[in-house]
Protein backbone atom coordinates (compact mmCIF):
# COMPACT_ATOMS: atom_id res chain seq x y z
CA UNK A 1 0.00 0.00 0.00
CA UNK A 2 2.78 2.45 1.00
CA UNK A 3 4.20 2.66 -2.53
CA UNK A 4 0.64 3.22 -3.72
CA UNK A 5 0.51 6.51 -1.78
CA UNK A 6 3.81 7.90 -3.06
CA UNK A 7 2.84 7.43 -6.73
CA UNK A 8 1.60 10.67 -8.32
CA UNK A 9 -2.16 10.44 -8.76
CA UNK A 10 -2.94 9.88 -12.46
CA UNK A 11 -5.67 12.01 -14.14
CA UNK A 12 -8.18 9.15 -14.05
CA UNK A 13 -7.63 8.70 -10.35
CA UNK A 14 -8.00 12.41 -9.72
CA UNK A 15 -11.33 12.57 -11.58
CA UNK A 16 -12.57 9.53 -9.68
CA UNK A 17 -11.58 11.16 -6.41
CA UNK A 18 -13.55 14.26 -7.37
CA UNK A 19 -16.61 12.22 -8.37
CA UNK A 20 -16.29 10.26 -5.12
CA UNK A 21 -16.25 13.43 -3.06
CA UNK A 22 -19.29 14.73 -4.90
CA UNK A 23 -21.11 11.42 -4.33
CA UNK A 24 -20.26 11.41 -0.63
CA UNK A 25 -21.52 14.97 -0.26
CA UNK A 26 -24.66 14.07 -2.20
CA UNK A 27 -25.54 11.03 -0.09
CA UNK A 28 -24.70 12.60 3.25
CA UNK A 29 -26.25 15.96 2.41
CA UNK A 30 -29.38 14.37 0.95
CA UNK A 31 -29.98 12.24 4.03
CA UNK A 32 -29.36 15.18 6.34
CA UNK A 33 -31.70 17.40 4.30
CA UNK A 34 -34.48 14.82 4.49
CA UNK A 35 -34.19 14.43 8.24
CA UNK A 36 -33.60 18.05 9.26
CA UNK A 37 -36.95 19.83 8.69
CA UNK A 38 -39.24 16.97 9.70
CA UNK A 39 -40.65 15.94 13.04
CA UNK A 40 -37.93 13.81 14.65
CA UNK A 41 -38.49 10.52 16.42
CA UNK A 42 -39.59 7.07 15.34
CA UNK A 43 -43.02 6.26 13.98
CA UNK A 44 -44.99 3.09 14.68
CA UNK A 45 -48.08 1.59 13.06
CA UNK A 46 -51.53 1.90 14.61
CA UNK A 47 -55.22 1.53 13.68
CA UNK A 48 -57.37 4.63 13.56
CA UNK A 49 -60.55 3.29 15.21
CA UNK A 50 -62.68 5.93 13.51
CA UNK A 51 -61.84 4.38 10.14
CA UNK A 52 -61.65 0.70 11.12
CA UNK A 53 -64.48 -1.44 9.78
CA UNK A 54 -63.44 -4.59 11.63
CA UNK A 55 -63.17 -6.51 8.37
CA UNK A 56 -61.06 -9.25 9.96
CA UNK A 57 -57.97 -8.78 7.79
CA UNK A 58 -55.97 -7.91 10.91
CA UNK A 59 -56.32 -11.49 12.08
CA UNK A 60 -54.86 -12.99 8.91
CA UNK A 61 -52.58 -10.46 7.21
CA UNK A 62 -50.21 -9.82 10.13
CA UNK A 63 -46.72 -11.24 9.56
CA UNK A 64 -47.04 -12.84 12.98
CA UNK A 65 -48.89 -16.12 13.14
CA UNK A 66 -50.91 -14.72 16.02
CA UNK A 67 -51.73 -11.17 15.00
CA UNK A 68 -50.31 -8.19 16.85
CA UNK A 69 -53.76 -6.64 16.64
CA UNK A 70 -56.01 -7.25 19.62
CA UNK A 71 -59.36 -6.01 20.77
CA UNK A 72 -59.33 -3.34 23.46
CA UNK A 73 -62.23 -2.07 25.56
CA UNK A 74 -62.96 1.56 26.34
CA UNK A 75 -64.72 1.10 29.67
CA UNK A 76 -66.00 4.69 29.98
CA UNK A 77 -67.91 4.15 26.73
CA UNK A 78 -69.27 0.73 27.69
CA UNK A 79 -72.93 0.36 28.60
CA UNK A 80 -72.23 -2.65 30.84
CA UNK A 81 -75.24 -4.30 29.23
CA UNK A 82 -76.53 -7.58 30.57
CA UNK A 83 -77.09 -8.61 26.96
CA UNK A 84 -73.81 -7.46 25.44
CA UNK A 85 -73.93 -7.85 21.66
CA UNK A 86 -70.14 -7.93 21.64
CA UNK A 87 -70.20 -10.92 23.95
CA UNK A 88 -73.32 -12.87 22.99
CA UNK A 89 -74.49 -14.26 19.69
CA UNK A 90 -76.93 -12.03 17.84
CA UNK A 91 -79.61 -14.47 18.99
CA UNK A 92 -78.31 -15.98 22.26
CA UNK A 93 -79.94 -19.12 23.55
CA UNK A 94 -79.51 -17.89 27.11
CA UNK A 95 -77.59 -15.12 28.85
CA UNK A 96 -74.94 -17.43 30.28
CA UNK A 97 -71.27 -17.74 29.40
CA UNK A 98 -71.83 -21.20 27.96
CA UNK A 99 -70.15 -21.89 24.62
CA UNK A 100 -73.40 -21.98 22.66
CA UNK A 101 -74.22 -18.37 23.61
CA UNK A 102 -70.80 -16.79 23.31
CA UNK A 103 -69.84 -14.75 20.27
CA UNK A 104 -66.03 -14.69 20.44
CA UNK A 105 -64.65 -17.64 18.45
CA UNK A 106 -61.61 -17.84 20.72
CA UNK A 107 -63.47 -17.11 23.94
CA UNK A 108 -61.31 -14.08 24.63
CA UNK A 109 -63.95 -11.91 26.31
CA UNK A 110 -64.48 -12.27 30.05
CA UNK A 111 -67.88 -11.40 31.53
CA UNK A 112 -68.10 -10.39 35.19
CA UNK A 113 -71.18 -9.48 37.22
CA UNK A 114 -70.88 -6.03 38.81
CA UNK A 115 -74.34 -5.25 40.18
CA UNK A 116 -77.85 -5.59 38.85
CA UNK A 117 -78.16 -5.13 35.93
CA UNK A 118 -74.57 -4.30 35.03
CA UNK A 119 -71.85 -6.65 33.75
CA UNK A 120 -68.21 -5.86 33.09
CA UNK A 121 -66.50 -7.17 29.96
CA UNK A 122 -62.72 -7.44 29.69
CA UNK A 123 -60.50 -8.82 26.92
CA UNK A 124 -58.15 -11.73 27.61
CA UNK A 125 -55.39 -10.63 25.24
CA UNK A 126 -53.72 -14.04 25.27
CA UNK A 127 -56.76 -15.47 23.51
CA UNK A 128 -57.74 -12.57 21.24
CA UNK A 129 -56.61 -12.94 17.63
CA UNK A 130 -58.00 -9.58 16.51
CA UNK A 131 -60.72 -10.88 14.19
CA UNK A 132 -62.99 -7.99 15.17
CA UNK A 133 -66.18 -10.02 15.39
CA UNK A 134 -67.06 -8.54 18.77
CA UNK A 135 -66.22 -5.08 17.44
CA UNK A 136 -68.84 -5.58 14.75
CA UNK A 137 -71.42 -6.73 17.27
CA UNK A 138 -70.72 -3.85 19.64
CA UNK A 139 -70.67 -1.25 16.87
CA UNK A 140 -73.87 -2.47 15.27
CA UNK A 141 -76.02 -2.44 18.40
CA UNK A 142 -74.11 -0.61 21.09
CA UNK A 143 -71.66 2.17 21.84
CA UNK A 144 -68.73 0.70 19.91
CA UNK A 145 -66.66 0.65 23.09
CA UNK A 146 -64.87 -2.44 21.75
CA UNK A 147 -62.30 -1.68 19.06
CA UNK A 148 -59.03 -2.94 17.59
CA UNK A 149 -55.51 -1.70 18.30
CA UNK A 150 -52.06 -2.99 17.40
CA UNK A 151 -50.37 -4.18 20.60
CA UNK A 152 -46.84 -2.86 20.56
CA UNK A 153 -45.47 -5.58 22.77
CA UNK A 154 -46.17 -7.89 19.83
CA UNK A 155 -46.01 -5.63 16.79
CA UNK A 156 -42.69 -5.96 14.95
CA UNK A 157 -43.38 -2.58 13.41
CA UNK A 158 -42.45 -3.67 9.90
CA UNK A 159 -41.19 -0.96 7.61
CA UNK A 160 -44.54 -1.19 5.86
CA UNK A 161 -47.17 -3.01 7.90
CA UNK A 162 -48.51 -5.86 5.81
CA UNK A 163 -51.96 -5.46 7.36
CA UNK A 164 -51.91 -1.79 6.38
CA UNK A 165 -51.18 -2.87 2.81
CA UNK A 166 -54.28 -5.07 2.92
CA UNK A 167 -56.57 -2.71 4.88
CA UNK A 168 -59.79 -1.99 2.96
CA UNK A 169 -60.50 1.32 4.73
CA UNK A 170 -56.99 2.83 4.92
CA UNK A 171 -57.34 2.79 8.69
CA UNK A 172 -53.65 2.12 9.40
CA UNK A 173 -51.51 5.16 10.13
CA UNK A 174 -47.97 5.87 11.35
CA UNK A 175 -48.07 7.47 14.80
CA UNK A 176 -45.23 8.75 17.02
CA UNK A 177 -43.59 5.91 18.94
CA UNK A 178 -43.94 8.11 22.04
CA UNK A 179 -47.77 7.83 21.87
CA UNK A 180 -48.27 4.53 20.05
CA UNK A 181 -51.99 4.00 20.74
CA UNK A 182 -55.06 5.77 19.33
CA UNK A 183 -57.44 5.39 22.27
CA UNK A 184 -61.04 6.35 21.80
CA UNK A 185 -61.27 9.65 23.63
CA UNK A 186 -64.04 10.16 26.15
CA UNK A 187 -64.58 13.87 26.66
Amino acid sequence: MADHETKPIPRRGFMRAAARAACALGIGGGAAYLIAPRAPGERVWQIDPSKCIACGNCATYCVLRESAVKCVHSFPMCGYCELCTGFFNPAPNDLTTAAENVLCPTGAIVRRFVEDPYFEYTIDKRLCIGCGKCVKGCTMFGNSSLYLQAMHDRCLNCNQCSIAAACPSEAWVRVPAAAPYLWKKVT
Partner: protein, 343 residues
Protein backbone atom coordinates in the same frame (compact mmCIF):
# COMPACT_ATOMS: atom_id res chain seq x y z
CA UNK B 1 -14.54 -40.25 -15.38
CA UNK B 2 -13.75 -37.21 -13.33
CA UNK B 3 -15.28 -35.07 -16.05
CA UNK B 4 -18.42 -37.17 -16.19
CA UNK B 5 -18.80 -36.99 -12.44
CA UNK B 6 -18.45 -33.23 -12.59
CA UNK B 7 -20.91 -33.06 -15.44
CA UNK B 8 -23.57 -35.14 -13.69
CA UNK B 9 -23.12 -33.01 -10.59
CA UNK B 10 -23.62 -29.88 -12.72
CA UNK B 11 -26.73 -31.40 -14.29
CA UNK B 12 -28.19 -32.30 -10.88
CA UNK B 13 -27.51 -28.78 -9.66
CA UNK B 14 -29.16 -27.42 -12.80
CA UNK B 15 -32.32 -29.45 -12.22
CA UNK B 16 -32.55 -28.46 -8.56
CA UNK B 17 -32.08 -24.79 -9.46
CA UNK B 18 -34.71 -24.99 -12.18
CA UNK B 19 -37.27 -26.62 -9.86
CA UNK B 20 -36.51 -24.02 -7.19
CA UNK B 21 -37.01 -21.19 -9.69
CA UNK B 22 -40.38 -22.60 -10.72
CA UNK B 23 -41.40 -22.94 -7.06
CA UNK B 24 -40.32 -19.35 -6.39
CA UNK B 25 -42.31 -17.98 -9.34
CA UNK B 26 -45.44 -19.87 -8.29
CA UNK B 27 -45.06 -18.68 -4.70
CA UNK B 28 -44.79 -15.06 -5.89
CA UNK B 29 -47.81 -15.47 -8.12
CA UNK B 30 -49.80 -16.79 -5.14
CA UNK B 31 -48.73 -13.97 -2.84
CA UNK B 32 -51.54 -11.46 -2.16
CA UNK B 33 -50.20 -8.38 -0.38
CA UNK B 34 -53.15 -6.10 -1.17
CA UNK B 35 -55.88 -8.06 0.57
CA UNK B 36 -57.64 -8.93 -2.67
CA UNK B 37 -58.70 -12.24 -1.20
CA UNK B 38 -60.08 -10.60 1.92
CA UNK B 39 -59.70 -12.15 5.37
CA UNK B 40 -59.62 -15.89 4.91
CA UNK B 41 -61.58 -16.35 8.12
CA UNK B 42 -64.21 -19.02 8.45
CA UNK B 43 -67.93 -18.78 9.12
CA UNK B 44 -67.48 -18.67 12.89
CA UNK B 45 -65.69 -15.34 12.49
CA UNK B 46 -68.39 -13.60 10.48
CA UNK B 47 -70.91 -11.54 12.43
CA UNK B 48 -73.99 -12.92 10.72
CA UNK B 49 -77.41 -11.30 11.03
CA UNK B 50 -79.02 -12.18 7.71
CA UNK B 51 -81.24 -14.87 9.30
CA UNK B 52 -82.63 -12.20 11.63
CA UNK B 53 -83.34 -9.58 8.97
CA UNK B 54 -86.30 -10.93 6.99
CA UNK B 55 -89.80 -10.18 8.27
CA UNK B 56 -92.91 -12.18 7.38
CA UNK B 57 -94.73 -10.27 4.58
CA UNK B 58 -97.96 -10.82 6.45
CA UNK B 59 -96.58 -8.64 9.26
CA UNK B 60 -95.45 -5.83 6.97
CA UNK B 61 -98.60 -3.75 6.82
CA UNK B 62 -97.13 -0.35 6.10
CA UNK B 63 -95.78 1.07 2.86
CA UNK B 64 -93.31 3.91 2.46
CA UNK B 65 -95.33 6.68 0.85
CA UNK B 66 -92.79 9.46 0.69
CA UNK B 67 -89.26 10.37 1.62
CA UNK B 68 -87.68 13.80 1.58
CA UNK B 69 -84.30 15.28 2.34
CA UNK B 70 -83.82 16.99 5.72
CA UNK B 71 -81.02 19.16 4.28
CA UNK B 72 -79.14 18.57 7.57
CA UNK B 73 -75.70 17.02 7.94
CA UNK B 74 -76.65 15.17 11.13
CA UNK B 75 -80.41 15.12 11.78
CA UNK B 76 -81.08 14.03 15.35
CA UNK B 77 -84.72 14.41 16.33
CA UNK B 78 -88.17 14.69 14.81
CA UNK B 79 -91.42 16.24 16.00
CA UNK B 80 -94.90 16.86 14.61
CA UNK B 81 -96.43 20.23 15.33
CA UNK B 82 -99.72 21.98 14.68
CA UNK B 83 -101.55 20.84 11.50
CA UNK B 84 -98.96 18.10 11.05
CA UNK B 85 -96.04 20.34 10.19
CA UNK B 86 -92.76 18.48 10.63
CA UNK B 87 -89.83 19.77 12.69
CA UNK B 88 -86.39 18.18 12.36
CA UNK B 89 -83.61 19.10 14.79
CA UNK B 90 -79.99 18.59 13.89
CA UNK B 91 -76.64 20.30 13.29
CA UNK B 92 -77.24 23.60 15.08
CA UNK B 93 -80.71 24.27 13.72
CA UNK B 94 -84.33 23.21 13.42
CA UNK B 95 -85.65 22.62 9.93
CA UNK B 96 -89.40 22.87 9.30
CA UNK B 97 -91.40 21.13 6.59
CA UNK B 98 -94.99 20.97 5.39
CA UNK B 99 -96.75 17.61 5.93
CA UNK B 100 -95.71 16.74 2.39
CA UNK B 101 -92.08 17.60 2.78
CA UNK B 102 -91.85 21.04 1.24
CA UNK B 103 -89.26 23.03 3.22
CA UNK B 104 -90.88 25.72 5.35
CA UNK B 105 -87.97 27.59 6.81
CA UNK B 106 -85.46 26.78 9.54
CA UNK B 107 -84.21 28.25 12.81
CA UNK B 108 -80.61 28.50 13.95
CA UNK B 109 -79.71 27.32 17.45
CA UNK B 110 -76.59 28.12 19.44
CA UNK B 111 -75.98 24.50 20.35
CA UNK B 112 -76.41 20.92 19.18
CA UNK B 113 -80.06 19.93 19.68
CA UNK B 114 -80.75 16.40 20.91
CA UNK B 115 -84.54 16.34 20.85
CA UNK B 116 -87.58 18.59 20.60
CA UNK B 117 -91.32 18.87 21.09
CA UNK B 118 -93.72 21.36 19.52
CA UNK B 119 -97.07 22.28 21.07
CA UNK B 120 -100.21 22.91 19.05
CA UNK B 121 -99.58 26.58 19.81
CA UNK B 122 -96.29 26.39 17.97
CA UNK B 123 -94.15 26.77 21.09
CA UNK B 124 -91.14 24.47 20.75
CA UNK B 125 -89.17 22.89 23.59
CA UNK B 126 -85.70 21.88 22.42
CA UNK B 127 -83.38 19.58 24.34
CA UNK B 128 -79.88 21.02 24.07
CA UNK B 129 -77.86 17.99 25.25
CA UNK B 130 -77.90 18.91 28.95
CA UNK B 131 -80.80 21.39 29.25
CA UNK B 132 -84.07 22.48 27.62
CA UNK B 133 -84.65 25.73 25.75
CA UNK B 134 -88.07 27.15 24.95
CA UNK B 135 -88.90 29.01 21.74
CA UNK B 136 -92.16 30.77 20.94
CA UNK B 137 -94.02 30.32 17.66
CA UNK B 138 -91.97 33.15 16.14
CA UNK B 139 -88.78 31.30 17.01
CA UNK B 140 -87.40 33.68 19.63
CA UNK B 141 -85.97 32.00 22.72
CA UNK B 142 -88.16 32.70 25.72
CA UNK B 143 -86.41 30.53 28.30
CA UNK B 144 -83.45 28.23 28.94
CA UNK B 145 -84.02 25.83 31.83
CA UNK B 146 -81.17 24.86 34.13
CA UNK B 147 -79.72 21.36 33.70
CA UNK B 148 -81.19 18.85 36.15
CA UNK B 149 -77.87 17.27 37.10
CA UNK B 150 -74.25 17.55 36.03
CA UNK B 151 -74.59 14.33 34.03
CA UNK B 152 -77.82 15.48 32.38
CA UNK B 153 -78.28 14.44 28.77
CA UNK B 154 -81.78 15.22 27.51
CA UNK B 155 -82.96 12.76 24.88
CA UNK B 156 -86.71 13.41 24.76
CA UNK B 157 -89.17 16.22 25.42
CA UNK B 158 -92.95 15.67 25.44
CA UNK B 159 -95.48 18.47 25.60
CA UNK B 160 -98.64 17.40 27.46
CA UNK B 161 -101.54 19.45 28.84
CA UNK B 162 -100.19 19.03 32.38
CA UNK B 163 -96.76 20.37 31.46
CA UNK B 164 -93.56 19.22 29.85
CA UNK B 165 -92.05 15.76 30.26
CA UNK B 166 -88.28 15.57 29.85
CA UNK B 167 -86.38 12.28 29.53
CA UNK B 168 -82.86 12.69 30.95
CA UNK B 169 -80.77 9.75 29.76
CA UNK B 170 -77.65 10.98 31.53
CA UNK B 171 -79.35 11.03 34.95
CA UNK B 172 -81.50 7.98 34.10
CA UNK B 173 -84.69 9.80 35.05
CA UNK B 174 -87.85 11.26 33.53
CA UNK B 175 -88.81 14.72 34.76
CA UNK B 176 -92.24 16.33 34.78
CA UNK B 177 -91.94 20.11 34.52
CA UNK B 178 -94.54 22.84 34.58
CA UNK B 179 -94.77 24.88 31.40
CA UNK B 180 -92.71 27.55 33.16
CA UNK B 181 -89.89 25.11 33.80
CA UNK B 182 -90.50 24.45 37.47
CA UNK B 183 -89.79 20.80 38.28
CA UNK B 184 -93.03 19.11 39.40
CA UNK B 185 -91.63 15.65 40.08
CA UNK B 186 -89.15 13.10 38.82
CA UNK B 187 -90.66 9.91 37.45
CA UNK B 188 -89.22 6.41 37.12
CA UNK B 189 -86.20 6.79 39.40
CA UNK B 190 -85.15 3.52 41.06
CA UNK B 191 -87.45 3.04 44.07
CA UNK B 192 -87.88 -0.46 45.60
CA UNK B 193 -90.78 0.64 47.84
CA UNK B 194 -92.94 1.63 44.87
CA UNK B 195 -91.24 -1.26 43.04
CA UNK B 196 -89.96 1.02 40.32
CA UNK B 197 -86.91 -0.80 38.87
CA UNK B 198 -85.33 2.36 37.45
CA UNK B 199 -84.13 3.03 33.95
CA UNK B 200 -81.17 1.17 32.49
CA UNK B 201 -79.71 3.38 29.76
CA UNK B 202 -76.51 1.95 28.30
CA UNK B 203 -76.52 4.25 25.28
CA UNK B 204 -77.85 7.81 24.95
CA UNK B 205 -81.41 6.79 24.14
CA UNK B 206 -84.34 7.32 26.52
CA UNK B 207 -87.66 8.26 25.02
CA UNK B 208 -91.11 9.05 26.33
CA UNK B 209 -94.55 9.56 24.80
CA UNK B 210 -98.02 10.29 26.19
CA UNK B 211 -100.39 7.37 25.78
CA UNK B 212 -104.06 7.87 24.85
CA UNK B 213 -104.95 6.19 28.16
CA UNK B 214 -103.35 9.06 30.09
CA UNK B 215 -100.34 6.95 31.07
CA UNK B 216 -96.87 8.16 30.16
CA UNK B 217 -95.00 5.59 28.08
CA UNK B 218 -91.23 5.51 28.69
CA UNK B 219 -88.65 3.25 27.12
CA UNK B 220 -86.35 1.27 29.38
CA UNK B 221 -83.81 0.14 26.79
CA UNK B 222 -81.43 -1.72 29.09
CA UNK B 223 -84.29 -3.89 30.26
CA UNK B 224 -85.81 -4.17 26.76
CA UNK B 225 -89.13 -2.81 28.07
CA UNK B 226 -91.66 -0.08 27.49
CA UNK B 227 -93.02 1.13 30.83
CA UNK B 228 -96.23 3.04 31.54
CA UNK B 229 -96.24 5.54 34.41
CA UNK B 230 -98.97 7.65 35.87
CA UNK B 231 -97.99 11.30 36.11
CA UNK B 232 -97.79 10.69 39.88
CA UNK B 233 -94.91 8.38 39.13
CA UNK B 234 -96.51 5.00 39.78
CA UNK B 235 -95.38 2.23 37.47
CA UNK B 236 -98.66 0.88 36.10
CA UNK B 237 -97.53 -1.40 33.30
CA UNK B 238 -94.36 -2.71 31.71
CA UNK B 239 -93.93 -4.96 28.74
CA UNK B 240 -91.27 -6.12 26.28
CA UNK B 241 -88.61 -8.80 26.22
CA UNK B 242 -85.14 -9.22 24.74
CA UNK B 243 -85.48 -11.32 21.58
CA UNK B 244 -83.64 -11.26 18.30
CA UNK B 245 -86.88 -12.20 16.58
CA UNK B 246 -89.49 -9.63 15.67
CA UNK B 247 -91.73 -10.34 18.70
CA UNK B 248 -89.14 -8.95 21.09
CA UNK B 249 -86.64 -6.10 21.16
CA UNK B 250 -83.30 -7.00 19.58
CA UNK B 251 -79.75 -6.19 20.61
CA UNK B 252 -78.34 -4.86 23.85
CA UNK B 253 -80.70 -1.98 24.52
CA UNK B 254 -83.98 -1.36 22.76
CA UNK B 255 -86.40 0.23 21.98
CA UNK B 256 -84.73 3.61 21.54
CA UNK B 257 -87.71 5.68 20.38
CA UNK B 258 -91.48 5.43 20.77
CA UNK B 259 -94.55 7.27 19.54
CA UNK B 260 -98.28 6.79 20.03
CA UNK B 261 -100.81 6.26 17.24
CA UNK B 262 -104.21 8.02 17.37
CA UNK B 263 -105.81 4.70 18.40
CA UNK B 264 -103.40 4.38 21.31
CA UNK B 265 -101.10 1.77 19.80
CA UNK B 266 -97.38 2.25 20.47
CA UNK B 267 -94.88 2.70 17.65
CA UNK B 268 -91.43 1.46 18.70
CA UNK B 269 -88.11 2.05 16.96
CA UNK B 270 -85.13 -0.28 17.50
CA UNK B 271 -81.49 0.32 16.66
CA UNK B 272 -79.02 -2.31 15.51
CA UNK B 273 -81.32 -4.33 13.31
CA UNK B 274 -83.25 -1.13 12.68
CA UNK B 275 -86.92 -2.00 13.00
CA UNK B 276 -90.02 0.14 13.43
CA UNK B 277 -93.11 -1.72 14.56
CA UNK B 278 -96.54 -1.12 16.04
CA UNK B 279 -97.54 -2.74 19.34
CA UNK B 280 -100.90 -2.73 21.09
CA UNK B 281 -100.99 -0.55 24.23
CA UNK B 282 -100.48 -3.73 26.28
CA UNK B 283 -97.46 -4.77 24.20
CA UNK B 284 -98.87 -7.38 21.85
CA UNK B 285 -97.21 -7.03 18.44
CA UNK B 286 -99.68 -5.61 15.94
CA UNK B 287 -97.56 -5.29 12.82
CA UNK B 288 -94.24 -4.12 11.45
CA UNK B 289 -93.78 -0.78 9.73
CA UNK B 290 -90.33 -1.45 8.28
CA UNK B 291 -87.48 -3.79 9.06
CA UNK B 292 -83.69 -3.80 8.65
CA UNK B 293 -83.96 -4.77 4.99
CA UNK B 294 -85.52 -1.35 4.41
CA UNK B 295 -83.94 0.75 7.16
CA UNK B 296 -80.50 -0.85 7.50
CA UNK B 297 -78.23 -1.99 10.32
CA UNK B 298 -76.67 0.58 12.64
CA UNK B 299 -76.75 1.97 16.18
CA UNK B 300 -77.74 5.53 15.31
CA UNK B 301 -81.35 5.34 16.48
CA UNK B 302 -84.18 6.32 14.14
CA UNK B 303 -86.56 8.83 15.76
CA UNK B 304 -90.25 8.20 15.10
CA UNK B 305 -93.31 10.43 15.23
CA UNK B 306 -96.99 10.08 14.40
CA UNK B 307 -99.20 12.76 12.86
CA UNK B 308 -102.93 13.37 13.26
CA UNK B 309 -103.71 11.19 10.22
CA UNK B 310 -101.86 8.28 11.79
CA UNK B 311 -98.97 8.46 9.33
CA UNK B 312 -95.79 7.09 10.90
CA UNK B 313 -92.85 9.39 10.23
CA UNK B 314 -89.31 8.04 10.58
CA UNK B 315 -86.13 10.11 10.70
CA UNK B 316 -83.37 8.25 8.84
CA UNK B 317 -80.04 9.64 10.09
CA UNK B 318 -78.04 7.69 7.51
CA UNK B 319 -79.88 8.85 4.40
CA UNK B 320 -80.54 12.13 6.26
CA UNK B 321 -84.13 11.83 5.10
CA UNK B 322 -87.58 11.92 6.64
CA UNK B 323 -89.48 8.83 5.55
CA UNK B 324 -93.28 8.65 5.70
CA UNK B 325 -95.09 5.34 6.14
CA UNK B 326 -98.81 4.69 5.74
CA UNK B 327 -100.92 1.55 6.11
CA UNK B 328 -100.53 -0.45 2.91
CA UNK B 329 -104.04 -1.95 3.07
CA UNK B 330 -105.66 1.31 2.02
CA UNK B 331 -105.54 0.59 -1.70
CA UNK B 332 -106.26 -2.85 -3.14
CA UNK B 333 -102.83 -4.19 -3.91
CA UNK B 334 -102.85 -7.99 -3.54
CA UNK B 335 -99.76 -7.91 -1.33
CA UNK B 336 -101.34 -5.83 1.41
CA UNK B 337 -104.61 -7.71 1.23
CA UNK B 338 -102.77 -10.77 2.52
CA UNK B 339 -102.40 -8.73 5.70
CA UNK B 340 -105.14 -8.76 8.29
CA UNK B 341 -108.20 -6.69 9.04
CA UNK B 342 -106.85 -3.50 10.53
CA UNK B 343 -104.85 -0.54 9.09
Amino acid sequence: MMARGAFSARAAAGIVVFVAIVAAVIAIALHDPTGERGNRLGKDFAYETKDLRPIAPALLRYAERAAFDTRLAAPRALAVGADDRLYVAGDRAIAMFTPHGTPAGSRALDGEPTCLAVTSGGVSYVGMSNHVEVFDAAGTRTAAWAPHGEQSYVTAVVAIPEGIVVADAGERIVLLYGKDGTLVRPIGGRDPERNVPGFVVPSPFLDAAMGKDGLLRVTNPGRHKVEAYSLEGDLCLAWGAAKATVEGFCGCCNPVHIAVLPDGAIVTSEKGLVTVKVCEPDGALRCVVAGPDRLGENALGYDVAVDSKGRIIVLDPVAKKVRVFEPAARRGSPRSETGSTNG
